[in-house]
Symmetry: C2
Subunit: 131 residues, 2 copies
């Protein structure tokens, strides 16, 4: 039986060399990381902290299990192949159970959130930037 | 002055040759399209209906203005360059005002939704698929 209090979460983003791109993902993760002390962000590539750095850090800090939650809307090659291969290697290397969850885009709550956002956008009478 | 009732929304997804990928985006858009008769989905490439097909369809159906809402988490090259160029061309071709909004990932409501999803995942005691 795992101790639920020792379960941690890494919000996994792809990573980009564009600082604006990284800033958007940090903003997407901020409410989670502020509300949940067990949640951190990690990147596949091009940004730090990397997924591997976060796994090593959480293991060192006493985590008994880590869930990896992809900040992706849908599953492509990265989530079907690359990330599972990375996690199998890190699980062996760091001796900590790693669980890859579905990407956030597959959670029904996200589709409901999009519905509310689209409703707000329809109500917004902002100017047309192409006029 | 535009008539708000004639404003429509196209939820813009990138498109993929993977039918599972498209199914995820259709599920992400479904609550919006079911709740809002002014909302439809369109794809940049590789899937149908295309963005251009939806613009032509909505113009034909009497839309006076279309907002394009990217189902993207962050802005990369597509949203900064490719999509604005496509919209400038379509606006001229179809003679209808087109407005590109921020991607859904930049809306604070989405970050809050992710926080709730991550909280649910932390509570979920599902097995570890790598064990």
């Amino acid at each position: 039986m795992s101790d639920k209090s020792d379960t941690h979460v890494i919000l996994l983003a792809h990573g980009s060399s564009d600082p604006n791109w990284q800033a958007t993902f940090e903003a997407l993760a901020r409410p989670s990381c502020e509300a949940l002390p067990q949640a951190v962000v990690g990147y596949m590539e091009l940004c730090e902290p990397s997924l591997e750095q976060q796994i090593a850090h959480l293991k060192q800090a006493g985590a008994s299990r880590i869930k990896i939650v992809p900040l992706f809307l849908a599953q492509g090659r990265h989530l079907r192949k690359d990330v599972p291969a990375m996690l199998a290697a890190y699980q062996s290397q760091y001796q900590i159970p790693l669980e890859l969850t579905a990407p956030i885009g597959e959670h029904p709550a996200l589709a409901e959130s999009i519905r509310r956002i689209v409703g707000d956008i329809l109500q917004d009478e902002s100017p047309n930037p192409f006029s």
